[in-house]
């Protein structure tokens, strides 16, 4: 397998399995399965970690409070007065992206294919191949998230300004601006998703290349930078930009 083939194979999103429902054959991609894993972990954590809260925080409660406080303060600093309506959405996106972008840290966990080769157990042969790769490496996922964020921006503008106010914001300061303002609603999700996709895919490819070139210590350092630092940074940028757009839409 040459390098180009290896990389394009690594980039590709694969259909893991499909099932039949509502009269359609519905495919499930590996990025969706990884998403399910992340969402499952987040839901379990959010339900178990928020039990038995005490006035004086300790242990796990501290971590939960720091996370929520961070999300609240990001939202507060960019949106201001109406932050309560948006903090849960931004928090959801932030937590999901942080986990999604950094999940290749857990790439050490062998795929079922490797487990089958390693152990020879029949059991693993029947499990579809799932490699733990960041779902945000899949452009489709990013585009969907960016479109959802823009829908939130639009919805926020309509809700807090009313239809008239929102239409007014399109002609502000001059009616000449209308085409650009409308273009904004297409450019913003494109830039949001392309930025995230490019960063995560680039980091993923660089780390893959490093594993091919120098499989020992060197990729670990790259992993820490690209997967942890860049992953968290990109998650923050995505949420921050979305919050800026929302703030602009409702002010």
């Amino acid at each position: 397998m040459d390098l180009g083939e290896y990389l394009s194979n690594a980039m590709e999103t694969r259909e893991v399995f499909s099932f039949y429902a509502f009269g359609y054959q519905i495919p499930v991609y590996d990025s969706i399965v990884v998403m399910w894993i992340i969402i499952g972990v987040l839901i379990v954590l959010s339900v178990t970690l928020t039990r038995n809260f005490k006035t004086v925080p300790s242990g796990k409660q501290n971590i939960v409070e720091i996370v929520v406080e961070l999300v609240n303060s990001i939202t507060k600093s960019s949106i201001g007065h109406h932050w309560r309506h948006f903090a849960p959405y931004f928090g959801t996106i932030l937590l999901f992206l942080v986990f999604a972008n950094t999940i290749s840290i857990f790439g050490i966990i062998p795929s079922s294919e490797e487990l089958y080769k390693l152990t020879g157990l029949e059991f693993f042969e029947h499990i579809p191949v799932i490699e733990i790769k960041p779902p945000t490496k899949d452009f489709g996922v990013n585009v969907t998230m960016a479109v959802m964020s823009i829908i939130v921006v639009l919805g926020a503008g309509l809700r807090f300004k009313g239809l008239k106010g929102w239409l007014g914001s399109l002609v502000d300061p001059l009616p000449v601006m209308i085409p650009f303002k409308i273009l904004d609603y297409f450019i913003r999700p494109l830039s949001l998703s392309a930025r995230l996709f490019g960063n995560i895919l680039g980091a993923f490819l660089i780390v893959e290349l490093a594993y091919i070139a120098l499989p020992a210590v060197f990729p670990a350092a790259l992993n820490i930078y690209f997967d942890l630092f860049d992953g968290i940074l990109q998650a923050y940028i995505f949420v921050f930009l979305t919050s800026i757009y929302v703030a602009e839409a409702i002010e």
Binding site: T13, I26, P27, V28, Y29, S31, I32, M35, W36, I39, L42, I43, S46, V47, T50, F53, T55, V64, E65, V68, E69, V71, N72, R84, A87, P88, Y89, G91, T92, I93, L95, F96, D138, F139, G140, V141, V143, T144, M145, V147, M148, F197
Partner: protein, 162 residues
């Protein structure tokens, strides 16, 4: 890259994220934010209460100090008055005692004088009788008449005066 965008995938992603959103909102963001807000409010209230209580205590302390000061002044005044009264009482008791003592002394002196005069008079009478009896024995004569008796008494008076 573009072929990785499919409607089914977008629906999956949107569905997943909506489920995650509603779950996290219900179990994480809403309750934790409310909890922290309540705690912040509680802390603010207790700090305000503490401040209020402190101010109240300060006011009470000042009023107590004022009262203590007044009480001290009052006590001083009472003690001073009592001392003055006691002094007066003392003086009056002492002076009345002195007067009584003097009066007793005077009375006693008068009594003594009177007793002495009485005794003197009785003694004179007895001495006169004895002298007459002695003289009559000496003279063997009846000198028991009035003239002699007056003579003897006169003599005794003279002797007493001398």
């Amino acid at each position: 890259m573009l072929k990785s965008i499919t409607a089914v995938k977008s629906i999956w992603v949107a569905l997943n994220l909506l489920i995650l959103y509603f779950t996290l909102k219900k179990f994480l963001f809403k309750p934790v934010t409310e909890f922290m807000d309540n705690r912040a409010r509680g802390i603010k209230e207790s700090i305000e209460n503490a401040e209020k209580n402190r101010a109240e205590a300060q006011k009470l302390k000042e009023s107590f100090e004022e009262q203590i000061k007044n009480a001290k002044l009052e006590a001083d005044k009472i003690i001073e008055a009592a001392r003055a009264k006691a002094e007066k009482e003392y003086d009056s008791i002492v002076s009345s005692a002195k007067q009584q003592a003097e009066a007793l002394l005077v009375k006693a002196r008068e009594e003594i004088d009177r007793e002495r005069q009485l005794a003197m008079r009785e003694m004179k009478a007895q001495v006169a009788g004895l002298a007459l009896a002695a003289a009559s024995k000496v003279l063997e004569a009846n000198m028991e008449n009035i003239d002699n008796r007056l003579l003897v008494e006169k003599f005794i008076d003279e002797a007493g005066a001398a």
